[in-house]
């Protein structure tokens, strides 16, 4: 922890290094002391926690994607992490690194937002638990203040809830940095006619990964049918997404894709 005091003052935490080393090579980060956190013992576990999960920040994303426990409890998370980078990247990239790096396109974020995960941050001043939605503060920025992200807590979700993750990439490989990503977790009522709980999260269409609150609100308590799906998809695209144009895609294409992918996800989750 005493090292943590020096964070930003010439010291960086190194997990898998798949973001950090690229930044160093590009010259965006130079002459830093690196502290390898991969071998801190309690950062390396996947544990059940009531009906939820606790993920150590230094577990690599491929291990999480393939974990039977994760597959059973949160197939949505497993689905999202299975396409985070190629096999080689997935074997190194940690879940903590993916979140701490705070790319708007980070693939673990939409699924974890939709599952309403929280992160545990530990610093010289003690520890705190922050809902993931409040963790990101901008592209590459988080609320971390000379702290270590140690755990990700995924709370239990209703049994009848189901999730879908869509990632739109620029070429055939499923593991590129996405143009747009969408994670939806939806809970229908017992009769499967009404949306009782819907959480929609979007990647790469705002300065941070976001929840599409306007779209969610429009669905709550409504009939599961084409009209509500369409309305929600439109709201997600027009009200929730705030995309920019960059080398991967224009703002207008991104908006259009939010609409398409949210609609597809909701349609898939509407199937009885």
């Amino acid at each position: 922890m005493s090292l943590m005091e020096k964070l930003d003052g010439g010291v960086s935490l190194l997990a898998g290094g798949t973001d950090l080393l690229v930044a160093m090579k590009d010259g965006r980060l130079r002459h830093r002391t690196l502290v390898d956190i991969k071998h801190i013992s309690n950062l390396g576990a996947i544990r059940p926690e009531d009906a939820g999960l606790c993920l150590g920040a230094a577990v690599n994303t491929r291990t999480i994607a393939r974990s039977p426990l994760v597959k059973e409890r949160f197939p949505l998370l497993s689905q999202a992490l299975a396409v985070l980078g190629s096999m080689q990247i997935g074997n190194r990239a940690t879940i903590g690194g993916n979140l701490a790096n705070a790319s708007p396109a980070a693939d673990s974020a939409p699924a974890l937002l939709a599952l309403e995960a929280s992160v545990k941050l530990v610093g010289p001043q003690g520890e705190r638990l922050v809902p993931l939605e409040n963790f990101f503060s901008g592209p590459g920025k988080t609320v971390l203040e000379r702290e270590l992200l140690t755990e990700i807590h995924v709370p239990s979700a209703p049994d009848q809830g189901r999730g879908v993750f869509y990632k739109l990439g620029p070429r055939g490989a499923p593991e590129d940095i996405c143009i747009v990503s969408v994670a939806v977790f939806a809970v229908p009522d017992a009769s499967k006619r009404i949306w009782t709980d819907v959480r929609i999260a979007l990647g790469a269409v705002a300065p941070t990964p976001i929840r599409a609150r306007n779209a969610e609100k429009a669905l709550l308590g409504q009939l599961i049918e084409g009209r509500t799906v369409e309305d929600a998809a439109r709201l997600a695209a027009e009200k929730d997404a705030r995309p920019i144009s960059d080398i991967r895609g224009s703002a207008s294409y991104r908006r259009a894709m939010v609409k398409i992918l949210v609609a597809r996800a909701l349609e898939q989750l509407s199937e009885r």
Binding site: L168, P170, R171, G172, A173, P174, D176, I177, I179, I247, R248, G249, S250, Y253, A256, M257, I260, L261, R264
Partner: protein, 749 residues
Amino acid sequence: MSNDHKVIGKSIPRLDARSKVLGEARYADDLSLPGMLYVKVVRSPHPNARIRSIDTSRARNYPGVISVLTAQDIPGEKLMGPIIKDQPVLCGEAVGYVGDAVALVGAETEQAAEEALELIKVDYEILAPVLDPFKAMEPGAPQVHSGGNIGTHSKVRRGDMEAAFRDATVVVEKRFFYPRVEHAYMEPEVAVVAPDPGGGFTVWSSTQYAHLDREEVSRVLGLPQSRVRVHQMMTGGGFGGKINPHAQCLAALIAWKAGRPAKLRYSREESLISSYKCHPFVMDMKLGANREGKLLALEATLVGNTGAYLLQGKAVITKSATHVSGPYYIPNIKADAYAVFTNCVPCGAMRGYGVPQVTFALESLMDELTGRLGLDPIELRMRNALDTTLPNATGQVMGASVPIKEMLGKAKLTVQSLKPLLQQAPAKGKLRAVGVGCSTRGIGSIRKPSRSTAVVSLHPDGSATVACGHVDLGQGSDTMMAQVAAEELGVDVDRVNVVTNDTAISPDCESTSASRVTYLSGNAVRLAAAKARQRVLEIAAGDLGCAPEELRLMNGSVVYREQGVTLAGLFSKHTFHSVTSVAEFLPDTVPPDPETGQGRPAGTYNFNVHVALVEVDEGTGQIRILRYLALTDVGHMINPLIVEGQVHGGMMMGLGSALMEEVKVENGVTNTSFATYLIPTTFDVPQELLIGVVEEPEPTGPFGAKGFAEGSLDPVGATIANAVSKAIGVRVTRLPMTSERIHELLSQR
């Protein structure tokens, strides 16, 4: 064509395969010499600027720095280039694009060299750049060079355009855009240069043309060519991009100045920013046909953005103009092709050399015609395809090996076999269609006749050494040459040593490019080997009192009526150590006339017919290729395994520019890594990729063979675009077909 060949036509594994698989192959960057310095380059951050002054004093004093160099220190020529020598080795007065080289540092470590770069202060007077070729042609545009911004204008003139378009019942016309593409060779540019004790220099490089490295290094250092020796190291791809020995010249300058070995290796970013690319084209094309679908007239204006320097731009533009009518007979043609200077990254040679561009435009218009005429795409092509009697755009009649109609027949069967997949209802929101594309290309340089020379030495143990200057870039040409020599000399391939990579041994045969090596050097090697064999057989015939025709060479012996005489014995008796022969091959060509484009520019032509079945996601615009057939014509296969490898690679390279690749320039190149400049991966390979080879021997080729290595790329963009256009009901006029662009077209329906 006799089929009793021992090694020709056999799928012999490539001679370099084993060393590559085992990691033993030596690339230029594997080389480290005692006392070797590392070189780094100061590059311009501005697309257009005058250099007021360069202050190198702080860099000179930086720890570890041995030499710092600017244009004024260059002892020899200050301009270089593969064909047109118009690029400054180091810019002295002005810079022409972001990435232009301005100064050099040679230091004990790469890190010291890199750090010293930042201490060099260049005072620029920043000028307005011109990046768009059409703006560059306007009066008052910033002048990239003093002679105006039109670097070259190539013409084709055949027939009477006015009358022909008057007679046409259907005329289609559109503007097409082809992207600027990066070669993306796996190995970026590398050169190591060392001074020799005798005052010369030795170069070890990753290169497509070792003798050009020799020429340019000697010009820049002011030395005779004979004092520079170049070793081409194992080269990790070139695709046209390594015919410009800039890194070699820069490393040589530091080696000369410091008197020590020097290495320069480009980072991927440096390579993406500074190396020349494939020309982006804007093409206005107009095509007219009669009611029966006979093509009557083609008019084309082709504008290629050649960037800051011409380098090979003139030759690329000429190739595209002369290939404007594809594999079809069109009696009336008017084409004007321009290479236009801008302050963009330069463009030069890339696999295809202007042909994929015009193929995309022409084949798209062919499909537009089919719609208007109500004709099947293959039928329309069949009605207009060249044969051995009809002239192409240059007026050349090929006389032999023109199998395009046979290929179209095969393609038709494939299209029919795809019907069930087409009719089978695709998933919701998915659109399917089949597209066809055809192409042709002249083999070898068309701008001037080009000769290959080979030296073959037959040794007393029956083994042989072949020296020929066409370097192997990984495509397998050394293996091809070994097969050709082995066949002629009656030995196994592993008894032949092919030396193409040493300028002190291998004769200059021009660059490994233009699909020329098999046709030109294959012939030269064959002729030289045959000459050596003939000489030996004549000597033996004298001894045996028979005719040379009654003898043959086999595994180091001359065989006469099942009796063998060893070469060792024969050589010793006649005071030979080895028997060495030299032969040349120069195809019978006439370059295109500058005013009309008419001539006989190529010794032979290659043809390609491709078929694609695509599926387009109506919502996202994403394209998937479900089936792909690449039919190619190779004359006669020397090595089927290598043919297959070339067609696979060419097809996938074409798929890159069709679907995703585009070097973007805003002042400088903006996609400067493989995270933002995307190339196809295994996930982009069509679900099923079939390769078909049609063999119609080329009478002037070695064992009937001809070149084909670029051909498999030429029609890919056209083929996929035709399929996608059909699927979405809107004509694609711009490559690459990113999902965003297709989504935009879908919303125009």
